[in-house]
């Protein structure tokens, strides 16, 4: 598992940029999840559907930008791969800590 201890500035900067982009994607996708669940019990709500589709569009743009730099967010045929196979790249989600405290070993 990679850590940022030792102060490699460009790696830290890279990791921080990755976390910021992930947070923006999480925000839009979470909005989509909430609207999806709402629509499951309110299938005729046109306003909710419109909001969902707008969210989907923003989300796709953010994901495209993220994947260009950091590799694929999903596999099993959802997007083409680059050489060498990036799907295996670290960090995996449980290795990214969004705590902003001054914790030793935090990524």
């Amino acid at each position: 598992m990679k850590t940022t201890e030792g102060g490699n500035d460009s790696m830290t900067g890279n990791r921080n940029r990755q976390k910021e982009q992930l947070k923006r994607i999480m925000a839009e996708e979470f909005t989509a999840v909430e609207l999806n669940l709402y629509l499951d019990t309110h299938p005729h709500d046109k306003q909710a559907l419109h909001m969902y589709n707008e969210t989907v569009h923003r989300l796709h743009c953010l994901k495209e930008e993220y994947e260009e730099e950091f590799g694929p967010l999903s596999n099993f045929g959802t997007s083409s791969g680059r050489y060498p196979w990036q799907w295996i790249d670290e960090p995996w989600p449980w290795e990214i800590n969004f705590c902003t405290c001054n914790r030793r070993g935090v990524k």
Binding site: K19, L22, K23, I25, M26, E29, F30, V33, E34, N36, L37, Y38, D40, T41, H42, P43, P72, L73, S74, N75, F76, T78, W87, W92, P93, W94, I96, N97, F98, C99, T100, C101, R103, R104, G105, V106
Partner: protein
């Protein structure tokens, strides 16, 4: 079928090394009211749901619960990963460590392993949805107790987020129950005629 997305649903935060906290948080991973139980309950009940709305809702909430399970696993993993053997012993996790090292395993706060006895799939949609609503309330209560126990501000914030999700899920299952009552009340007179 499921596609995995390589990100958490929420930016989980863990500010300390604290195996003692991990020992209780793990109950929302492999315990009776945890996210694995929630996920498997809904994903197995969905097959016998009678309407498109209920099949979709049980599938979608069941899927979201897997994402929550992953968040709980992330909390436990990060609370334990830098712990010394002394800290693990002091936390009362030496028994767990002997069987699992620092790996994740499906147990409750006392090391009792997960069982399908935690869930029911009764086939009757009114019955199943009541079970689902109760499950969300039990999970909410458990998160509240964990919030009381937590001394890590990042973990507390993450637990609060997971608790809020239970409230939203309760609302959706409640709406599904109202929908099921409507669904059966429309057919009521037809069934009575059939019985003659």
């Amino acid at each position: 079928m499921w596609i995995y997305e390589k990100k958490l649903e929420y930016p989980a935060k863990i500010c300390t090394t604290n195996p003692k906290l991990a020992k209780v948080v793990i109950t929302q991973y492999g315990g009776p009211d945890g996210e694995l139980a929630a996920s498997l309950r809904y994903l197995t009940q969905r097959y016998s749901m009678p309407t498109p709305q209920t099949k979709a809702l049980l599938t979608d909430i069941g899927t979201e619960e897997l994402a929550h399970m992953e968040i709980v696993a992330t909390l436990v993993y990060n609370l334990v990963k830098d712990a010394s053997i002394q800290q693990i012993k002091a936390a009362g996790l030496d028994g767990y460590y002997a069987d699992h090292d620092k790996a994740l395993y499906f147990v409750n706060g006392d090391g009792v392993p997960w069982t399908a006895a935690y869930i029911q799939s009764k086939g009757d949609p009114v019955t199943d949805l009541h079970e689902d609503m109760a499950a969300e309330q039990k999970a909410r209560s458990t998160y509240e107790y964990l919030i009381q126990l937590s001394e890590d501000p990042g973990v507390t914030e993450t637990l609060r987020w997971l608790r809020e999700r239970e409230i939203v899920h309760y609302q959706r299952f409640g709406e599904a129950l109202e929908h099921i009552y409507d669904h059966y009340s429309k057919d009521r007179y037809y069934f009575m005629e059939q019985k003659g």
